[in-house]
Subunit: 265 residues, 3 copies
Amino acid sequence: MGKKAIKNVAIGERCKIHRTVDFGDNISIGDDVTIEQGVLLKDNVTIESSSYVGPRTIIGAPTRDFFKKPEDYQNQKTIIRKSSIIRANCIIYCGNEFGPNLETGDNVLIRENNMVGKNVRIGTLCDIQGRVSIGDFCRFHSNVHIGQKSIIGNRVWIFPYVVLTNDTHAPCGKCLKGPVIEDFVIIGTKAVVLPNLTISEGAVIGALSLVTKNVPAGMLMIGVPGKVVFPAKEIKCKTGLLKEGNPYPWQELPHLIEQEGIGRS
Amino acid sequence: MGKKAIKNVAIGERCKIHRTVDFGDNISIGDDVTIEQGVLLKDNVTIESSSYVGPRTIIGAPTRDFFKKPEDYQNQKTIIRKSSIIRANCIIYCGNEFGPNLETGDNVLIRENNMVGKNVRIGTLCDIQGRVSIGDFCRFHSNVHIGQKSIIGNRVWIFPYVVLTNDTHAPCGKCLKGPVIEDFVIIGTKAVVLPNLTISEGAVIGALSLVTKNVPAGMLMIGVPGKVVFPAKEIKCKTGLLKEGNPYPWQELPHLIEQEGIGRS
Amino acid sequence: MGKKAIKNVAIGERCKIHRTVDFGDNISIGDDVTIEQGVLLKDNVTIESSSYVGPRTIIGAPTRDFFKKPEDYQNQKTIIRKSSIIRANCIIYCGNEFGPNLETGDNVLIRENNMVGKNVRIGTLCDIQGRVSIGDFCRFHSNVHIGQKSIIGNRVWIFPYVVLTNDTHAPCGKCLKGPVIEDFVIIGTKAVVLPNLTISEGAVIGALSLVTKNVPAGMLMIGVPGKVVFPAKEIKCKTGLLKEGNPYPWQELPHLIEQEGIGRS
């Protein structure tokens, strides 16, 4: 009998755990946690206090090794820190550690072995491929794809359908190396970032651009292939709706500094 | 005890409701409705007659306010009109109202507070971001992303992986304004439409184009950045499979007029 | 009473079938099969030995005809061959036949009536639209969209967010014809392939390219619109990490030939 009859599950006070939640072994849940219908918690999952897990989300999904030798397989630890919100139908593989105040949209997929900072938001249908480093206060909008081995700094915003790639000569795979995205960078909708490049602090990438070379700090890149055109701080608000100042550097906008942790503060 | 013991659920005649369906409070279901395994109906959901809801779909999902003050939270009404088909694993937030004959693919996500007309199809993996207006007889293919505050007319066709954006100087957010897409517009696969623009009646946008300025009625735009090249009605069928006439204006094609409601009729 | 009281379900030896699995009629399951929580097997599904089906996956989902005349509807056969791994939340429509050793990511959608060869991998969030032919040893990364009537050879690699289209004058539909992708072709991230074209053996398409014309065998195409620039075999490894030889033809790389079935072997 490979299966233990008694599982090690610790649940804090004032939790709301739906009766259909399925527990693996060695689960630790803090106080004031809500877990909705049909959530699967696989082995070795910790969920800290005041967190919410939406319907049908899977936390601690096994890696590929599980299929090769299920009898020897040991699931890595997965840690959800306090005050996190994970919406419905997400799949978070094992071996992930997130800082507090994580917030995800629905249908998010996060593969194994990422290190993610505090106060990060990961939007609907994002696909984080694993072995990625993500700093604090990052915001990923819907359907962002982060290739393995990407390195992302603090307060980086990535807009819908951006892809960070990692294999220069695919499918060779000998050169697997993701891009480095420094603090305060903005990557516009549908941009593609090629592997092994650096987008330096505060640079801005326009929508549907193809980033084929390094982008210097604070510069705007647009086009296919991308060209560095001028400093982002020279961009004016064309709509007239931003009453004072310029839209970049965005982290100096008063209304964003006011949002806790979003601006440079 | 914040939870009412008795829920207000009204179900019509000849319905097939799977035993695993989870009901919130104040649910109204018409006659001849089928609801499949594991569907979650949150508070204040109406589903009119002859509709179908596929497995694991969630209708009336709560907005972000739910997480801020759950004890005061009131779910907005969600209305699915008659003869609608909603496939599996969809998530429809509260505060949406759809016209009759809605049809969705699987895994569709619809955020809160959209107004959607009649006979609309929303394909697999579409992501409608909320506060969007959509007219009648629109067709969205797979994986279309409609940013908040977009305004879409009648009989608009949008093809896979199109994104309508809404923040000119993201992440500033002061200028949030989606594009206006007028009646009969065709937007080709993977096009990106920048915020605060108008694509006028019957215009056609080529695949993988970046729409950076207004598109006049009936014109074809292609490229990155998009250029207006010539009237769409001058496009000839290169395949020889369309025996008579030209492919645009598409709403005058006899075989599309025959499909109820699709052409101008 | 249209519903048979007794269903025809055959299950092999040493299977692990979760108690929440929902069986349709006429189901055949081989030996050593694992089926996880909440899987739905609709009518006429075969799953051969040593296969794994992840949580909440649906196999044999009904076609659109089901909604038109449910009382006359007959679900087509769906065949999963031996040693396949199908991860969580996938939806595989009826009328599909796969070769052995299929492996899918999570959240994969496969519409009806595809013929798929052996040892194929279909990544997370892929959307195979139906009536597609796919050869052996193909690899699709995340979020690949294959339009109806595409024809894909053997050992083809397609990278994230690629779309194969099929309607030259959408929404006309009279000319519906997918592209032909020959053996050993590589299609880079976010490329779009227009309908009714051929990408010949061993050609390589760069990231974010728009393929608007045929691509000759072994050539590299890049850009929007795509231009054929030079033979792929002239591409050098710029990273220095591939110690010997060139990255293309990829099927001659020793480390890929070693992976069973991946290279030309």
